[in-house]
Amino acid sequence: MTATYPPATPIWCAGCGHFGVQAVMLAAMRDLGIPAHEVMVLAGIGCSGTIQNNLGTYGYHALHGRVLPTATGVHLANPDLTVIATGGDGDGYAIGMGHLVHTFRRNPSFTYVIMNNGVYGLTKGQNSPTYQSEGAALDFDAVSLGLSISSTTFVARGFARWTDQLHRLTVAALEHARAGRGFAFLEVLSPCVTYNDTYPVWEATLDDLDARESYDPSSRAGAFSAVSELADEGRMAVGLIYRNGARANGELARPAAEDVRPDRHAAAYADLMATFRVRSGD
């Protein structure tokens, strides 16, 4: 066997939530039996944005905030790959916000695992858009945002410490995207122990929708109210919040698989050329 890069040892602080994310990602890929060479993990820039080095798959370190358009490009050019975009809340919810909305809107079939810790870990602890000062309400919640877009097909949230559920959610997200059902959005509450240790807050305020018998994740409006109600009570929903059965894509083009020997297309090229011909009037 050809030796490829040795997966890196995580550089995270002991106790960082990102460890939990890595563990479930590896487990989910193993469970689904996806060969490493068919997976491309793209990551933003941040502490979270080093996860791709640790997994053994194809890995890419995007520009800060641009992981979603890049992943979209990979997916559109080669829909046979299992594409997993990852990153932090600074990456995805600050500089990357526009792309997030557009990705929900376009609904391309890949997975996005975003590690939300309310801060910019790598640049030493500045607040991110999801930073929550004690007692104050959260200004911005990506789950609600995702639910506000009608083409959204998959929204889930897990907690880095609740590994079983996170594992289930990750598998569900990958399955959704791999089945061509669209964009699988999974936010992981992943505390930064160094700059914003939210383990205790989250342990105390999370509410597991998966555990509610009556919860119906197929209603977008229902999901929105459930999430909003909890937010009004100062709580936060986790679980498989919304999943839509529709198939996102019809048959996709496969440009990466295209044979581009010019001779193969010679006739078609010539036809195209002919559309520019100046009629000499014959």
Partner: protein, 590 residues
């Protein structure tokens, strides 16, 4: 006027102008067909305000037996649908030019016209044909008068018109024919009888030709060179590349996508390029500014991508519909950090086709960014050229590894340090080829690494890639007298005017040796040598700072020999104007 005074025309410059809402300015197209049938070549341009209806819009057309790459010095014929058209076109009109004017609202404003001009004031309103849309009517009527001026037979004119409207409802064609006849009738009244106008058109043997713009040629070149993924975001004057590829790529298994902005455009293209798909994005100055981080990343992470800049007048939003060459600096020097890049600069549509293909190959070979720099005129003006030699395009795959290649290696490192700087590349999906791609400094495996020695090794490796392809970079186009004392350098839209100015200067006894560099960066030795080989070199540019002069001097061309010939008013050089500027300077020089 009698047949005796009939002048034979081999070079005709026409402007058809009015408010944008006045319709398609079809006169120009109709006339184009007439000229085409006689073996004329076309150079066509548009001059529009950057707004929708109601803004001034002009179609400019030059038909000539000789191949020409710009509009001529003066307009022979002005078809003006309103006063503003006369105000704008008048100053360009030749002393003996003709004007066909819509006089519904009053007589033509003569103060803008040369004394010798002949004006036909046609009261379109009176001649109005009830069941016709006014704009179409105008055009057909105007075409009737124009065809008489040019001594085109009435039957031929009718035939051309019929062909033009063949795809529309029968009534439309009929109504237009009636308008054409109204035009003939008006001409008769004004002494322009059939077949014996003041001018007649020359003719030349015809051959199979195409009429194509630079933007279209770039798109075709990209496609033929195996391009299968394109992203764009609407912007003047680049949007045609997006719309063309949106229409055409799918049939070839490709994808063209309108991104939400230029940041998404360049990053989607980066994503696609990483899968091994040949990719491209195109925009104009403001969009290129937004893509600077992405381009630096291409250079760092070693990802092949072609980025097209259809330059317009800057800075900032500037004048979106006007040509300029003021992004040279940014393409050569923009983006953070030191990284290898190539900047190719085509001029004619044919050149656009070939350099787009070359760019695609070079990007694969250096696994990095290749810019293609156009300007609004090169992008949007349509020119008659010979059909592209599709067979000449060969695909250079670069150092790619498939599963079998990988299997034969003991180990696979994405950023392997090699003699030529290029690391063999297994794209995602290749069994056994798993690797890490990053914009951080990294070791051969792709793991982030900041050690001093590794850093130098990696940076040098990346820079070496330029040397690998240097000998294959597109060489300059040359014209004129290579022995001349004075040289002339320019790119893009300057070429047509430079070549024609060189003819005029030669006629005036001034010999010029010309160079159109087709590779702007790296600056090739041929360019520096060209400067060294001439006592003085006029560098003709559409910008205010003399960006090309700075560029060439920065790498060692003797600064004191370079003479800037600058223009930044949003208007292309006319050949006579350029020749005049050089003559004046030569007067000073000698």
């Amino acid at each position: 006027m009698t047949v005796e005074t009939q002048r034979k025309l081999a070079d005709l410059n026409v402007m058809v102008a009015g408010q944008g809402g006045d319709g398609s300015l079809t006169v120009a197209n109709l006339l184009g067909v007439v000229l085409g049938r006689r073996g004329f070549r076309m150079y066509t341009a548009r001059d529009v305000a950057s707004r929708i209806k109601g803004g001034h819009a002009a179609a400019l057309m030059r038909g000539s037996i000789a191949p020409r790459g710009c509009m001529g010095d003066a307009l022979d014929l002005l078809v003006a649908f309103d006063d503003e058209a006369v105000e704008r076109g008048g100053p360009w009109l030749a002393e003996d030019g003709f004007v066909v004017f819509d006089a519904s609202g009053g007589p033509a404003p003569r103060e803008y016209l040369p004394e010798g001009a002949t004006v036909f004031e046609i009261p379109f309103a009176r001649l109005a044909v009830r069941d016709l849309r006014r704009d179409l009517f105008k055009n057909s009527l105007g075409f009737g008068v124009v065809s008489r001026i040019l001594s085109v037979g009435d039957d031929e004119a009718a035939d051309v018109l019929t062909q033009r409207f063949a795809h529309l409802r029968r009534q439309v064609a009929d109504a237009n024919l009636r308008a054409l006849e109204a035009g003939f009738a008006y001409a008769d009244e004004n002494g322009l009888t059939a077949g014996s106008g003041p001018w007649a058109l020359d003719s030349a043997p015809n051959s199979d030709r195409i009429l194509i713009s630079g933007n279209e040629a770039v798109a075709v070149g990209f496609l033929v060179a195996g391009g299968r993924f394109f992203t764009g975001y609407p912007i003047t004057p680049a949007s045609e590349i997006l719309s063309f590829l949106e229409r055409r790529l799918p049939a070839f298994g490709g994808v063209a996508i309108q991104a939400e902005d230029e940041l998404a455009a360049v990053n989607m293209a980066i994503g696609a390029a990483m899968t091994g798909t040949r990719s491209m994005t195109a925009t104009s100055g403001p969009g290129i500014s937004l893509m600077q981080e992405g381009v630096s990343h291409l250079g760092s992470a070693e990802i092949p991508l072609v980025v097209v800049d259809c330059q317009r007048s800057g800075p900032s939003t500037g004048m979106p519909t006007k040509p300029e060459q003021s992004d040279i600096n940014m393409l050569v020097h923009g983006g953070n950090g030191d990284f290898p890049r190539i900047v190719l600069s085509p001029s004619t549509p044919t050149d656009c086709f070939h350099l787009a293909a070359a760019a695609s190959n070079l990007a694969q070979r250096i696994q990095g960014p290749v810019y293609l720099i156009l300007d609004q005129a090169v992008s949007q003006d349509s020119v008659t050229v010979e059909p592209f030699d599709l067979g000449s395009v060969e695909l250079a795959p670069g150092k790619r590894l498939d599963a079998d290649d990988v299997a034969q290696l003991g180990e696979y490192r994405r950023y392997l340090v090699t003699d030529d700087g290029v690391s063999p590349w297994a794209v995602p999906g290749t069994p056994g080829g798993m690797n890490l791609v990053t914009g951080n400094e990294r070791n051969e495996w792709g793991h982030v690494a900041t050690g001093a020695a590794n850093r130098v090794t990696m940076l040098d490796k990346r820079m070496r890639k330029i040397d690998l392809v240097r000998a294959d970079l597109p060489l300059a186009h040359r014209w004129g007298d290579p022995e001349a004392e004075a040289g002339m350098i320019g790119i893009g839209l300057e070429l047509g005017a430079m070549e024609e100015a060189t003819e005029r200067l030669a006629a005036a006894g001034v010999a010029i040796s010309g160079l159109q560099p087709r590779t702007l960066w790296p600056v090739l030795d041929e360019t520096i040598e060209f400067v060294r080989a001439h006592e003085r070199v006029y560098v003709v540019e559409h910008n205010a700072e003399g960006q090309l002069v700075h560029l060439i001097a920065s790498v060692g061309a003797p600064h004191e020999r370079l003479r800037s010939v600058l223009k930044y008013d949003g208007v292309p050089f006319r050949p006579g104007e350029l020749a005049g500027r050089i003559l004046e300077a030569e007067g000073a020089a000698s």
